[in-house]
Symmetry: C2
Subunit: 215 residues, 2 copies
DNA sequence: ATGAAAAGGGGGATTTTTCCCCTTTAATGT
DNA sequence: ACATTAAAGGGGAAAAATCCCCCTTTTCAT
């Protein structure tokens, strides 16, 4: 008989977190220590060393300190904690970033309790859990190879955020302390990288990739 | 001693629905009959008359048949069912639409189980539950009066959707079988109504108001 | 060390977007 | 019946976005 596996839930929807806590506890083999609203609260809680769990179930879309940041911090400071990412949307870039940050599994919020249970067991016993839909995503991504991995630079991301406002490129140039011509260069190189043709394309890309979050 | 209140949960995140079901049952005074993934499934379930609940907890963002549609249908066909809307975002237009559709309460997913419990009791006993943040929203909306209720016409919504693509206005005009000049008129009137200055403003507005949904 | 990128910037042309003022036709209210 | 308003459309101009080809300086890997 192995000891009870301890778990922490990190999710800003506290109703969901609470409900999930009850569900997990009902499995019997697991014990939820507590749940927190975001990464920052988790960091605070972890200051008390007795609160370190075996497993952390982390939501990706959170204000303050999101899932990717939290996972990265956790892997650096408490590498023994296994991370399972929990998210509503299954967009590929997010999955990749989450796995690179150190997550051992990725689950969508529309799964069944049974699958959740299986995933927990797999991560504890085998060290990982990858559902079919996730492996498909990752495989297609890897298949496309590294030449398509348009990693945006900090400066480009900054520009992208401003491009989602009603500023003209000239105003953006002023805000970034660059010449309008340089901004024009950024724009053109992004059009090429992202395979788009207009500023609307920039906005849509930024929103899909959570570089700009409306509301 | 009153009889047990029966509840149905409608949410496409079945993990959340399941977890919420457990939580609600743990209150003791309520009994969740079943949970479904969307309005269409709810309609099917209701075909068996013995499955009609006292209360329906309905998520707003669902594929297939969303919260507003579901509530409207429910109020027409089963007016005795009380509806509590459950959502992640607290954007005002959505709240207004949901209340107009017939919801008796509006809750955010980041509330505590206690508040959830109170809301259920209020809706059953008093027929409504409005949290502080919601009443603020609604009051500010009502305060702004009816002249600011930019209800968009079908044609404008159609234009707005196309404006979120990489089509030029000329192409949009072609797609909508209108002169480019008419499209220019739509654009200008929307700029006025929505208090914006550029096409980026249109895209952001459309996304915030769920007229265009990226992925 | 040296050639190749990468980062910042310029000139200039073409389209698109944005803006303002104006006309016609059809629907609508009083 | 008549005024009003909404919807579709036009002319024309200024501003912004898009595109293409060019230059310098720095950084960086072989």
């Amino acid at each position: 008989m192995r000891p009870v596996v301890t778990i922490v839930v990190v999710d800003d929807h506290s109703l969901f977190a609470q409900a999930l806590e009850n569900l997990i506890n009902s499995f019997g083999e697991f014990k939820v220590l507590y749940h927190v609203k975001n990464g920052q609260e988790f960091v605070k809680k972890l200051a008390h060393i007795e609160n370190v769990p075996d497993l952390a179930v982390i939501d990706i879309n959170m204000p303050v300190m999101d899932g990717v940041e939290t996972t990265r911090w956790l892997k650096k400071n408490y590498p023994t904690v296994n991370v399972i990412a929990l998210s509503m949307d299954d967009d590929e870039p997010t999955i990749i970033r989450m796995l690179r940050a150190g997550a051992r599994g990725y689950l969508l919020k529309d799964i069944s309790p049974t699958i959740l249970h299986d995933a927990f067991k797999d991560v504890i016993d085998k060290g990982f859990y990858y559902s079919n839909c996730i492996t498909n995503h990752v495989l297609t991504s890897l298949h496309r190879g590294k030449e398509a991995d348009h990693e945006l630079k900090d400066r480009e991301v900054e520009f992208l955020k401003l491009a989602c406002t009603e500023m003209t490129y000239k105003e953006i140039a002023g805000a970034m302390c660059l010449s309008p011509k340089t901004i024009d260069g950024y724009r053109e190189s992004l059009f090429e990288k992202l395979q788009i043709k207009s500023r609307v394309g920039l906005v849509i890309y930024a929103i899909k990739n959570k570089i700009y979050k409306p509301e």
